[in-house]
């Protein structure tokens, strides 16, 4: 691409990157060998690259993770709702993560002092979650409109699975909340049953769901959620809390 072409990927009116230049395939194989750099351990994650205004002067840690953040709609909404909380989006498709990165940088320029608490990493979170977060570090994890992987053969590629929940329970602190939503009923049932059957998660009550401002964002803030709303589709959500494991004696 010629030098002049680079600038035109940004919208003239808003200064934000234009999505049409970051089109990517909708699916990515999570099973393939990764060729991007992965931090050796959580202590190797360089916070000053992700949050240059806050680090190295702070000792804060990332508390929210949006796994498969896509084009970052939820992150952008959360960034202003929780301005004191560090959050990160994780996306496997490099073009999409590149878009989110540009989007955050442009928002930081357009709104000085804001959006300093949000960043994005290009990674396979199904493989490398423990490389990014310590035990109990996170307080919220988001899995919004994940790849449904309909075929039974491919169920093991689903981002919510009984075994992967063990790892999510490890990085979530006790009381931490896992948010899932999908427009595919079959996947909604699957995610709900995985969480329901896991001994370290319990469902939030209706009242708690009502009181949580984040729940409303699940369907309204994300690009996928807006698409579903435009088409007047249904969504299925499952919101669960990480609890202490009590070993059953029966």
């Amino acid at each position: 691409m010629p030098e002049t072409g680079v600038k035109s990927t940004f919208s003239k009116s808003t200064g934000l990157p234009r999505k049409r230049f970051y089109r990517a395939r909708a699916h990515s194989n999570p099973l393939s060998d990764s060729h991007f750099p992965v931090p050796i351990s959580p202590s190797h994650v360089d916070y000053s690259i992700h949050f240059p205004q806050i680090f190295p002067d702070s000792s804060k840690k990332i508390q929210f993770a949006d796994v498969g953040c896509g084009f970052g709609g939820l992150l952008i909404s959360l960034a202003t709702l929780f301005p004191e909380t560090l959050m990160v989006g994780m996306e496997l498709r490099d073009k999409v993560s590149e878009y989110v990165k540009e989007r955050i940088l442009s928002l930081r320029v357009a709104n000085p002092g804001q959006y300093q608490n949000v960043s994005v990493v290009r990674t396979n979170s199904m493989k490398y979650i423990p490389n990014y977060f310590e035990k109990g570090q996170l307080s919220k994890m988001f899995f919004l409109f994940p790849d449904p992987h309909f075929k039974e053969k491919n169920h093991r590629r689903r981002v919510i699975s009984p075994f992967l929940l063990d790892e999510y329970a490890y990085v979530l602190g006790v009381g931490g909340i896992i948010y899932t939503i999908t427009d595919v009923e079959e996947l909604g049932d699957w995610m709900k049953s995985c969480l329901e059957n896991h001994p370290m998660f319990e469902a939030l009550t209706e009242k708690e769901l009502e009181a949580d401002p984040v729940v409303k964002l699940l369907s309204s803030a994300t690009e996928e959620g807006q698409k579903v709303a435009r088409n007047e589709g249904q969504t299925f959500q499952a919101v669960y809390r990480r609890i202490v494991l009590t070993e059953q004696t029966s």
Partner: protein, 414 residues
């Protein structure tokens, strides 16, 4: 992308905890020598009697893991034929055969001998309850249940902590996972205690080092040519020993293997050119290289180690299941190093001085004398096999881009 050459499996060795027998696995052959009686052991397997297989191959493909239980009553073997066999190490009768859906890459037995765990090529660890087994009676049909899973990574080593509180699994993605082993493991092990992260290549082996009752240290060997010392409950890296550098080796992509040494201050590890003894200072939590024992006159690349604490002997084996372009279908060479002690001079025993003598060599190696020329070929084959299996292939970004361009799932425009 299918590999055309046959997969090569390294030879394995296991020494009975009370040094009553030694087992060697090469390819699909399982060979056992009774050290007390001084004779080779004939294995008995009633379960596979229907198939008229030759007497020495109870497994139909390469054996990838063998191990004695902590008190020596049981012995397990498992591998690429997707079966796991539990043997009584007294009668050497197979008491239990179990089939897995995938190839088995590692096995472990809980120290109380209640559970056998094995890991498959998809990164799933399975558990079988063997409580109340009877050495004389075959176990009833028991099905393995999934315990935990590494996400699509080959598990290279499985180990129980000495107190059975944790089960540890190491994988090709540089990780060691420490999971609380529950009271009811058949419901799965959900609570992860820690991850030991620091290796920069595949983790090849795990070994526990118990100095005092309440102090359990984990050692791990890796393709990054280091042996690392960990605190299991926090996952903290306590020390790193650059084995290749300290031993003055140039090779760095080798098959580092560490093995527990029951003695209070030492631990050991094999490198490409011999055996390195590491000294583990418990109070200072450090690892230092004590000495390197090289095996004179032979290009000996140990593929597996076994330690006999009572006799202070280290049993080492090298070998492969098959050698391309060679008359020998499989090859194994067993040596013993005696005097594994920090003060003593370690001696590599000559063949005639080996416990069990020529008989033992005939049993375990298949032949008493070994052709010198096959050593190098075997070493190369082992290295290549390990590399193919565990090292990730790196493609330059240009070739990745060109592959994306030639992808075949794009709709053709008419």
């Amino acid at each position: 992308m299918e590999e055309t050459e046959a997969e090569v499996a390294p030879a394995l060795i296991a020494v009975h905890p009370h040094r009553s027998s030694v087992a060697v696995a090469v390819g699909c052959d399982l060979r056992v020598f009774d050290l007390l009686a001084g004779v080779g052991v004939t294995l008995l397997d009633d379960s596979s009697s229907s198939s008229s297989s030759s007497s020495s191959s109870f497994h139909k493909d390469s054996i990838r893991a063998i191990r004695f239980s902590a008190n020596g009553k049981l012995f397990v073997s498992a591998g690429d034929d997707k079966t796991l066999k539990i043997w009584s190490s007294i009668s050497w009768r197979c008491i239990f055969t179990l089939s897995s859906e995938k190839r088995i890459s590692a096995v472990a037995i809980s120290n109380n001998e209640s559970y056998v765990c094995f890991a498959d090529k998809f990164g799933v660890v399975w558990v079988v309850d063997i409580t109340g087994f009877d050495a004389n009676q075959p176990l009833l049909d028991k099905k393995p249940t999934p315990l935990l899973s590494h996400y699509c990574s080959i598990i290279t080593s499985l180990e129980f902590s000495p107190d059975d509180r944790f089960i540890l699994s190491a994988d090709r993605d540089f990780k060691i996972r420490v999971t609380n082993f529950p009271n009811k493991p058949l419901n799965g092990a959900h609570e992860i205690q820690s991850f030991c992260l620091g290796h920069t290549e595949f983790v090849s082996c795990l070994a526990f080092f118990q100095a005092q009752e309440y102090q359990q240290h984990l050692l791990s060997g890796s393709g990054d040519s280091t042996v690392r010392l960990w605190d299991v409950s926090s996952g903290a890296l306590l020390d790193t020993c650059e084995v290749a550098n300290k031993a003055g080796l140039l090779e760095s992509n080798g098959n580092g293997k560490s093995e527990e040494h029951g003695h209070a201050v030492t631990d050991l590890c094999t490198t490409l050119d011999g055996v390195a003894l590491l000294s583990h200072n418990v109070s200072a939590q450090t690892l230092t290289l004590a000495k390197v024992v090289s095996i004179e006159g032979e290009a000996f690349v140990p593929t597996s180690l076994g330690y006999a604490p009572s006799a202070r002997e280290l049993w080492i084996v090298t070998g492969v299941s098959s050698l391309p372009g060679c008359s020998h279908p499989s090859f194994a060479r067993v040596r013993v190093i005696s005097g594994i002690d920090i003060e003593q001079e370690a001696v590599v025993l000559e063949d005639e001085k080996m416990p069990g003598g020529e008989k033992l060599l005939e049993t375990l190696q298949g032949t008493a004398s070994v052709d010198e020329n096959v050593f190098l070929a075997a070493a190369e084959a082992v290295k290549a096999a390990m590399h193919n299996l565990l090292i990730k292939k790196q493609y330059p970004s240009e070739s990745r881009e060109s592959r994306k361009k030639t992808r075949n799932d794009r709709k053709l425009k008419q």
